[in-house]
Symmetry: C2
DNA sequence: ATAACCAAGTTGCCTGACAAGATGGCAACT
DNA sequence: AGTTGCCATCTTGTCAGGCAACTTGGTTAT
């Protein structure tokens, strides 16, 4: 079935070529705006076939590092560097990586909560309140409430109206939530006492947002995330 | 939302196919761990050739959405969602987007400064101090000092030892700096008075980091970024 | 000199083919 | 029977060659 015993699969030729070109561009070997060699030429110099070159270049195009014009050639993108940022998270649960990820999540979420308090519309507030109630219902139902927890934070982030916050938060929440799930499967320890605390912290955040108290919202969010990180630490295996 | 409405260029077949598969996976049309149709099959069903299918799937692999095993097939990745986050920034001067970007930058940078104050080694402090002096030299030289400014912040972020902060900050700094450069080319207005203020704010940050005053570092950073945003607003064209 | 034009180069895409790895079933053996 | 070993078959990875659409720069004709 799954059992993804990921031995490092051999990198494909397109992989190594893409990385090589990427490296050459970053190193300034090809200047911005410069035309890079034709596919045929790259194929011969690197000893691979043209489809491989196409795949590699296609990847760079996708990452905004080069743009190509039919009939003309491929050019490395101007405007210093890529127009898309890639955040690679190795699926592997490396403790260090998870902690770094959580730090980033805390930074994003606390700022987002502050902004949400400043900008929330009445509709935003209603949405956040609904998620708060959904969380309450989950608790009384005896559910894990992880999904509702995430939804609550998502509703807050959406009130910022900042797409970057929204996207990043979605991604990070997903990641961390996934980590929690897999980790919890090992320890299998339910903590209903914790959830009451979570809900109290959530309520503080909600009240601050309701009152448009930006500073208070930030502090409430920081407090909540700090507590959450501590609760989470239980699931972390000691190194 | 992130409609790739690249007006300049018609989307390639691989593009549309990749987006389509991406959409199907996100929509749950293909479950995690499920094997998706063979390349040949996809080629016939979508009416394109196998190389195109390969390119599209290669892109999804690159983004961590699917994994493929030679001889077996391609499977959509487990672990809820992608393992890489893509932040697409349309290269061009959309005021809304720049403001959102700057907000994100402020969130990252102020948190990073706080962390840096907690974790800095003596070596980190020296590196940051060096950049501070370089900035001073640039001012006295009459330079723009944008590069030195960025380098100062980079040195701080590196002191966090958090790779995600480092990478994201690098990207955002690059983007914003690029915006400043192009915008400044229009207004072409040098502001030596501003730079003295910048330097003062930088010094406050430095001192707080030196004293390991996390709270003070955060406040100094927030103050600096707030001021910087206001100075930057000059370059923003009214909508 | 200027304008139309054509040939070479380049990307976008296709067909066909072979090698390497994986899978499932069939046959042989215990 | 149950297990083991082998093989046909499928799938991905890679290659070769070729045609169409487009860009570019020089050449020719006016």
């Amino acid at each position: 079935m799954s059992a993804p015993s990921h031995l490092d699969r051999a990198p494909s030729l397109a992989d190594v070529l893409a990385h090589r070109l990427e490296h050459d561009i970053a190193q300034g070997h090809y200047a911005p705006g410069e035309k890079l060699p034709s596919e045929q030429q790259l194929a011969t110099t690197y000893g691979v076939s043209r489809p491989i070159v196409r795949e590699a270049i296609g990847r760079l195009k996708h990452d905004g590092l080069v743009t190509s014009r039919q009939g003309s050639g491929a050019f490395v993108a101007e405007s210093g560097g890529a127009s898309v940022f890639r955040l690679d998270v190795s699926n592997f649960k490396d403790r260090q990586e998870i902690e770094s990820l959580i730090e980033l999540l805390m930074a994003i979420e606390s700022s987002a909560t502050e902004l949400a308090a400043q900008r929330r519309t009445d509709q935003d507030l209603i949405a956040i309140g609904n998620q708060l109630e959904a969380m309450q219902a989950a608790i009384e139902r005896g559910d894990s409430g992880v999904d509702e927890d995430v939804a609550f934070h998502q509703a807050i982030v959406e009130a910022t109206k900042n797409p970057f916050f929204m996207d990043l938060s979605t991604f990070l929440d997903r990641r961390v939530r996934h980590f929690i799930r897999t980790a919890r499967a090992n320890t299998a320890k339910l903590q209903t006492g914790h959830m009451m605390a979570v809900q109290d912290e959530h309520r503080d955040i909600f009240n601050a947002i309701r009152d448009r108290d930006a500073q208070g919202a930030r502090q409430a969010a920081e407090n909540h995330l700090k507590q959450a990180a501590q609760r989470l630490a239980i699931y972390m295996k000691p190194v």
